[in-house]
Symmetry: C2
């Protein structure tokens, strides 16, 4: 779990505001997560997420003090973009990014919870499918859903996935799962807060691609 | 056919050497071709091709006189990279790029030749499938082949595809096809020459992704 553990998300402060700078820093270590899935088939997904991060970073860099927290970005863009908002700028990028983060979160949670296909206990397809259904499916039209169904066959064996998350070192499954559990604490809290912010600010859209 | 006609490939000189600079210039207008297919599903394909072009351009820009023709690039990289060649650098990027170009070429040729599914004469799926089979299928593992089969359902109606190629202007099908025919002359010649060069130089690989 070197990959994720070395770059844990920060604990939320009492006011539950997510700081843009440290959020960007933490998520920037996530795209390699998709390399852990092993197949080049996942490269476009990684690219989509890198694109989201780049978009948010560009907005932040344009005025770091104005965009100190994610909430401030949404508020400023709402002001700035009028009727186009929220389908615009960093608001749109974060709307999609949080879904990718939720996919990762649910997949990892499902693994640490020991959920498995009893007939194929060494595969992670059920975990991927659960994550997909909770995080993304409703935002995908039938075609992308169909592509997902095909792509999930490229998901690696559980042991290889855990090994990849541990930067190639063989570690005991239990040690790895313990570290994932620890990573999930702040990661889940940060992402839940972002979801709540989108709901409260009426910034969530549910069109499909 | 504004999209393609405004940026025709140059006629090959007598020595059949493709000039890197003008080749890069011409292919740089092709990625929007995939926007003409209409769905965001094709964005990763466009990105892959843009990546190829960027790789080749970076090599060219590092020494424009040394890399004046595509042939010179392959020769220099063969020299430079030893055993890694040809799975490296601009040689690798052009190996894949030419397959994407061939896909476009066969698709357009099949359209101007009037090939169609008699039961669905206004679809272009048969033309896409033919192009895929001739240009790419053998370089794709079963999973990517499966993804292609799903993706082809997102291909637009013929009339919409031709309209998109004409930059949104409604043109008569016959006018559009005549312009495609004209575009194909130099485009096909350039790409055939690149294929021959890969064969002659033993630079072609047939691993699958
Ligand atoms: C030859 C073979 C052919 C095969 C072709 C297959 C093509 C496959 C296509 C796969 C799609 C890859 C996944 C990407 C999906 C994206 O379309 C969606 C929507 O993306 C958003 O769209 C937006 C456009 O919106 S609009 O203008 O409002 O319409 C923006 O572009 C936004 O970027 S932004 O930074 O600029 O704001 C962007 O993220 N992205 C996702 O679904 C996120 C995917 C997250 C990862 C999921 C993990 C799945 C892992 C599966 C593992 C088994
Ligand atoms: C949540 C939903 C999940 C869905 C997930 C779906 C994912 C879909 C994946 C789709 C794949 C998109 C198509 C891209 C395929 C590429 O893998 C291949 C091989 O690409 C090469 O790989 C190489 C790696 O090689 S290796 O190191 O030696 O292994 C290089 O990276 C090379 O780039 S280079 O410039 O750096 O040299 C690169 O082009 N590309 C293609 O197949 C080309 C596709 C051309 C376009 C085809 C047009 C099809 C249109 C279909 C229309 C119906």
């Amino acid at each position: 779990m070197a990959l994720l553990m070395e770059h844990q998300f920060k604990q939320l402060p009492a006011d539950k505001q997510v700081e843009t700078r440290s959020f960007l820093e933490s998520v920037s270590y996530l795209p390699p997560f998709f390399d852990c899935l092993g197949s080049t088939v996942f490269a476009p997904i990684k690219a989509d997420i890198v694109g989201n991060i780049t978009t948010i970073k560009a907005v932040y860099d344009s005025n770091p003090s104005r965009f100190k927290t994610l909430q401030k970005i949404l508020e400023a863009e709402k002001e700035m973009h009028g009727a186009d908002w929220p389908k615009v700028g960093a608001t749109l990028a974060l709307m999609w990014l949080k879904r990718g983060l939720r996919f990762i979160q649910v997949l990892l949670q499902s693994l640490v919870d020991g959920e498995k296909d009893e007939n194929n206990p060494n595969l992670i397809r059920v975990n991927c499918t659960k994550a997909y259904e909770l995080a993304l499916k409703k935002y995908h039209g039938w075609l992308v859903q169909k592509l997902f169904k095909a792509a999930v066959f490229a998901a690696p064996y559980k042991v290889d996935f855990l090994k990849a998350l541990s930067k190639g070192r063989m570690v005991k499954e239990e040690d790895c799962l313990a570290k994932i559990r620890q990573f999930l604490v702040n990661f889940t809290a940060a992402n839940d807060t972002i979801y709540e912010m989108y709901t409260k600010m009426n910034a969530e859209l549910d069109y499909t691609v």
